[in-house]
């Protein structure tokens, strides 16, 4: 009988857990370790952040779902991995610290036969002085609680504008190496939409501040679309929306620090700037959740298993090479940690071999390049893929070939809300195939038949449908397994 341990209960980890519980024969165990007691459909946090959706609509408690599915749930954070075991046993182990109410702060060591690291991001607000809602001067929509706070702050600004005040809103990326530009894109247009709905848009200056060198980059080096017999770029397509909605854009920016009401940033030309604001929502850079790794003799192997940014190394080609030599083949396929045939890292937790967007730095050496996104659809696919590999190996033997799901072979859909309302909402709906461009197969890097973008009300319906579908799936309700990742 095998014990599978999954670290993290986000999209990747939770998907893996549900599929494992569905597919593994009786007797094997699946354990999820997560410091959070609730599951959060993060793509809808932007709606919570403008007050059009309640927190209770984007979160639900994990314990009842796991109890129903026969999954053991430990509300705890992992602090160390021992892939070779320890002095007591050669079985792999994870050191955890309980974060839940039962035994809070207690340490434990749990054994595994297969380990999935799906710990998600560490929100590194501390990388930029004055960033974030807890110890800084900006709001965030990274968590449901952050989003509730953001909505409250936004409402206060709207109230002041109703009384005639003018306000500046800055939304975007709080560091030159941030990822998730799509979320900031969604939030800025939802703020714009709410200001219009409140009848105060004419008293607002709305600015999108981003580390992207061009609009429409989205951390994937932009996209080429085929439209009406012409090839056009996601840059032009996105810029059209910004112009139509009167949203200004500051591009290629690295935020150095945020004071109350003032953001200090550097642009790719090396110049320093200041921007005064009344409401700021700037996302933090992501790092890996800090985990140590130890060999059986107790020696520290953290540097071997993890990249300096805290993400776990997997079967990618991490050789440093210039942008022109980057290839889709650099990207991982099986998500197995080198040297271990039973340790995987998926979702944000795996270390990407390099960015997808062209790397850039200012003349001062400040790196201003979006980090590669690996959330949402690709995360779910990775979670399911490693679950299937584990099921194969448990049922057919440890040497069974691992399943593959390279981001250079898989597509992704991104529906970026630009405002809510069943009659008045809109969204930018995009599909791309593959996520990592492959110029050896496609002249534009991607398959033009599957790489599309469109704006309209149907995008809002789509995002709302995905919200309900993925909550249904995550709750493991009847038929959940037929909903694609």
């Amino acid at each position: 009988m095998a014990d599978v341990v999954i670290l993290g209960a986000g999209v990747a980890g939770h998907t893996a857990a549900l599929h494992l519980s569905r597919l593994l024969p009786r007797g094997h165990t699946v354990t999820v370790v997560s410091p959070n007691s609730q599951w959060n459909w993060i793509p809808s946090n932007i709606w919570v952040g403008v007050g059009t959706m309640g927190k209770e609509e984007v979160v639900f408690p994990l314990a009842p779902v796991y109890a129903r599915k026969g999954i053991r749930f430990l509300q705890a954070k992992a602090v160390a991995i021992r892939p070779e075991g320890d002095e007591q046993s050669e079985r792999g182990a994870v050191d955890i610290t309980v974060t839940g109410p039962d035994g809070h702060g207690e340490d434990d060591r749990i054994r595994y036969d297969y380990l999935v690291n799906a710990t998600g991001p560490q929100l590194r607000f501390g990388m930029t002085e004055g960033l974030g809602p807890d110890h800084g001067n900006t709001v965030s929509v990274c968590t449901a609680d952050h989003a509730v706070h953001a909505a409250s702050e936004l409402e206060q600004q709207i109230e002041a504008m109703r009384s005639g005040a003018e306000r500046t809103f800055v939304v975007g990326m709080g560091h030159g190496t941030c990822t998730c530009e799509g979320a900031a894109f969604e939030y800025v247009f939802n703020v714009d939409h709410e200001l219009r709905t409140a009848g105060v848009r004419d008293r607002a200056r709305v600015i999108y501040l981003t580390n992207e060198a061009a609009l429409g980059d989205f951390g994937v080096d932009g996209m080429t679309f085929e439209e009406n017999g012409f090839q056009t770029s996601s840059e032009l397509w996105t810029a059209s929306l910004f112009r139509e909605r009167g949203v200004e854009a500051i591009l290629g920016a690295h935020v150095h620090r945020v004071e109350p009401g003032r953001v200090h940033y550097e642009t790719l030309d090396g110049r320093l700037h200041e921007l005064e604001f009344d409401f700021g929502m700037l996302l933090p850079p992501f790092g890996g959740v800090p985990l140590h790794a130890y060999a059986r003799d107790g020696s520290d192997i953290t540097d071997a298993m993890f990249a300096p940014n805290g993400f776990m190394r997997v079967d990618a080609d991490y050789t440093a090479k210039p942008y022109g030599d980057w290839s889709g083949d650099d990207w991982p396929r099986t998500y197995l940690a080198p040297g271990y045939d039973n340790v995987f890292a998926v979702g944000i937790a795996f270390a990407p071999p390099h960015q997808i967007s062209q790397p850039r730095a200012s003349p001062n050496g400040t790196v201003i390049t979006p980090a590669p996104p690996r959330t949402g659809m690709p995360s779910g696919v990775m979670g399911k893929t490693v679950a299937l590999t584990i099921v194969d190996r448990i049922t057919h033997g440890k040497d069974h070939p691992a399943r593959e799901a390279s981001m250079a072979r898989m597509g992704a859909a991104c529906v970026a809300s630009a405002g809510t309302g069943m009659r008045t909402g809109s969204a930018a709906s995009m599909t791309m195939m593959p996520v990592v461009p492959d110029y050896s197969r496609y002249p534009t890097g991607r398959d033009l038949a599957d790489t599309k973008g469109e704006l309209g009300l149907s995008g809002h319906w789509m995002k709302l449908m995905l919200h309900h579908m993925f909550l249904h799936k995550a709750k493991g309700r009847p038929g959940w397994q037929f909903i694609p990742e």
Binding site: I207, L215, L236, A239, S240, F242, R243, E244, E248, A249, I250, L251, H264, E266, T267, G270, R271, L272, H273, E274, L275, N364, V381, T385, L388, R403, A405, R409, M410, G411, A413, R423, T424, S426, S429, T431, M433, P434, D450, K452, E454, L455, G456, L457, S458, G459, W461, M462, P484, E485
Partner: protein, 53 residues
């Protein structure tokens, strides 16, 4: 470093195409958007079938 704090350079978007009134109307048209909803759903499913496993 050049300190240019007085200036807040924003991107020049005047070259971006503005949608016509007809395009804006189509983006909110219920029948057309219902069709686009079905078309986009089909595209996602095709991608899922082509690209996953």
């Amino acid at each position: 470093m050049t300190d240019d704090t007085a200036d807040v350079p924003t991107a020049d978007l005047t070259g971006a195409p503005l949608p016509t009134a007809d395009t804006l109307r189509k983006r909110q048209s219920l029948p057309l958007q219902a069709y686009r909803f079905a078309a986009f759903s089909g595209r996602i499913m095709r991608m899922v079938l082509k690209g996953h496993h």
